[in-house]
């Protein structure tokens, strides 16, 4: 095994009297597709939120490329080259796809206009169009507001945004939950493209067949801890299910 790109160890997070994470571990290797599996309440979302900087863990260590790092804000996570596709997509519905792609990273005109904060809309639209074309995200009208788009198209915009900005890892929380068969296939295509570009993908999903179709590795959480790790090609759905439901004993101690 190569050196892990992201190594999360012994993360604890408590909400009131609920222990969401009890010394959770998680590993991502460069350029792989790894699925994070677990039943409801296993701590998947809490772990993802820790990595993307939405919540701060109470204890634990995050190593990125072997270095200990602190991720205390979404920006800190992004600065490491980690982008997140949230389950709710986190798009601004009243902006167009280009506006969403560049939200918070707007391109300004050079010189005086830029100093005044004037947006270079043509340039952002041009780059957005190029990105959507490269990623094969099909939008009927690049000028339409996101609110007027289908669920699949919105997903395309959100994934494309993460892909354009991510240099190391994309976290995807239930990327196919709201999608039909065709759109799910489109998202799979996108995920494979991300991998081909050398960016690792972390996939949080309930959809076991989907995970088996696309993931290289599987890490299973249960009750706030990692309980099993599998290489997809060398395991079966039954084995993974047993780990998720606690039929098999954990592979590693907390």
């Amino acid at each position: 095994m190569p050196v892990p790109l992201l190594e999360v160890t012994n993360i604890a997070k408590r909400y009131g009297h609920i222990e969401a994470l009890r010394g959770a571990n998680f590993t991502v290797y460069p350029g792989e597709i790894v699925a994070l599996l677990g039943d409801n309440g296993a701590g998947k979302s809490s772990l993802i939120k820790t990595i993307c900087g939405v919540t701060k863990p109470d204890a634990g260590e995050i190593r990125f490329n072997g270095q200990v790092v602190t991720i205390d804000s979404p920006q800190a996570s992004r600065d490491l080259g980690i982008e997140t596709v949230y389950q709710d997509l986190a798009l601004a519905p009243d902006l167009d796809p280009a506006g969403n792609l560049f939200l918070g990273k707007e391109i300004l005109y050079p010189g005086l206009l830029g100093w005044l904060g004037v947006l270079d809309k043509p340039e952002m639209r041009r780059q957005a169009e190029a990105s959507f074309a490269r990623l094969n995200v099909k939008l009927q009208d690049i000028n339409a507001k996101v609110v007027n788009m289908s669920g699949g198209q919105r997903q395309g915009v959100a994934v494309a945004r993460a892909m354009v900005w991510a240099s190391k890892i994309i976290l995807m929380d239930e990327p196919t939950a709201a999608l039909g068969v065709v759109q799910t296939r489109n998202v799979s295509e996108l995920i494979r493209q991300v991998k081909a570009a050398g960016v690792a993908v972390v996939l949080v999903s309930h959809n076991l067949p989907y995970v088996f179709e696309i993931a290289d590795r599987i890490e299973v959480m249960r009750l706030g801890r990692r309980v099993a790790r599998f290489v997809t090609a060398e395991t079966t759905m039954d084995e993974v299910l047993d780990a998720m439901t606690g039929v098999t004993a954990p592979q590693e101690a907390a």
């Binding site: 997140t84 986190a90 918070g104 947006l119 099909k138 009927q140």
Partner: protein, 339 residues
């Protein structure tokens, strides 16, 4: 492949002239402009020698120049999905403190007038910081915060003056700003016109405007995109307060007195202009040009009603009813959109 075959038939349909016309009709700015023109045509036919005269239209523009200034600030705040009920009272408090400041430094010259301008703008900014702080840091809903600051500002204005209007305003200010003209354009109209142009540009073409729309559209998305939404909210309240402060300064220049009780309906008129202009009550969408047009619907209506010798208080009744109707239309549109 499947997607391409789906996309092809849709594109030409969208580019058709019929669709273009429909989308223009759907745009509320176009509807508002059309409504304004119909209203104006109506009163022109009714009063051919009185309504559409240079004198009357000019008066109308001057009368509503202050509301336009309030509307510019309110458009920004409402685009970010917040409210500012306090603008009318801020205007009054700013004009009182403006006079106080000018009395304090004394004199009748431009330096005194500039001190007055600075005092009105600073008052507006201070109310904005107050509103923004309570909304952002204490997370009190903006409608309640600004209802509170409305009363605080109006109350302070009465306390500071003992309820008596102040008149100690340099003649220079009234003569050259209130009654002044630049290239034949009345100065109050010019000031409001510039505010509209700058406001429209900032909201639609700059990063600040883009972030304002994003904040109103999806606050969480804006936050996750790395936008400092708290700082932005406070900035928007300061902007709104400063627009009200400037309106207070212009009011002093026009009337030569603090009009303590003269602005109780300013907020609702400005609000009606903002929503008629196409800014959504639910944030995310705002247009300053629409506001500038929208404000003149109650304006023309009121002007026409006076010409018709209708008891002027009916105007309030109509403004209130139209406001409910317009907000209902916005609501229906939003529900359709979200389905």
């Amino acid at each position: 492949m499947a997607d391409q075959s789906q996309a092809v038939p849709v594109v030409p349909a969208r580019a058709g002239i019929g669709a273009l016309l429909r989308s223009m009709l759907r745009s509320q700015a176009a509807m508002t402009t059309a409504t304004l023109l119909v209203l104006m045509a109506f009163f022109t036919v009714l009063f051919p020698s009185k309504f559409l005269t240079v004198f009357n239209i000019q008066n109308l523009l001057i009368d509503y120049s202050g509301i336009v200034l309030l509307g510019v600030g309110l458009t920004f705040v409402m685009t970010s999905e917040c409210f500012d009920l306090s603008i009318g009272a801020t205007l009054v408090l700013a004009s009182v403190l403006g006079v106080e400041a000018m009395v304090l430094v004394g004199g009748e010259g431009w330096s005194t007038v500039l001190v007055g301008l600075a005092a009105t703008l600073l008052t507006g900014a201070a109310v904005g910081v107050f509103n923004g702080f309570l909304v952002v840091n204490l997370r009190i809903p903006s409608i309640i915060v600004t209802l509170g600051s409305l009363n605080v500002a109006q109350g302070l204005a009465y306390v500071l003056t003992g309820g008596q209007d102040m008149h100690e305003i340099p003649n220079l200010m009234v003569d050259s700003i209130g009654l002044g003209r630049v290239l034949g354009i009345p100065a109050p109209v010019l000031v409001s016109g510039i505010a509209v142009i700058v406001g429209a540009f900032v909201l639609s073409q700059t990063r600040f405007g883009r972030h304002t729309c994003a904040l109103g559209s999806n606050k969480e998305a804006a936050r996750r995109a790395g936008i400092d939404v708290n700082r932005l909210s406070i900035q928007l309240y300061v902007l709104s307060g400063m627009c009200a402060g400037l309106a207070g300064f212009m009011s002093l220049a026009r009337f030569g007195t603090t009009t303590l009780s003269g602005h109780s309906t300013d907020f609702i008129t400005a609000l009606l202009g903002v929503v008629l202009g196409g800014t959504s009550l639910f944030g995310g969408v705002g247009t300053v040009l629409g506001t500038a047009v929208g404000v003149f619907i109650p304006g023309v209506l009121s002007n026409g009603l006076i010409l018709m010798s209708v008891f002027p208080y009916w105007q309030l009744v109509i403004v209130g009813l139209v406001l409910c109707a317009v907000v209902y239309a916005d609501l229906v549109k939003r529900r359709q959109r979200d389905d």
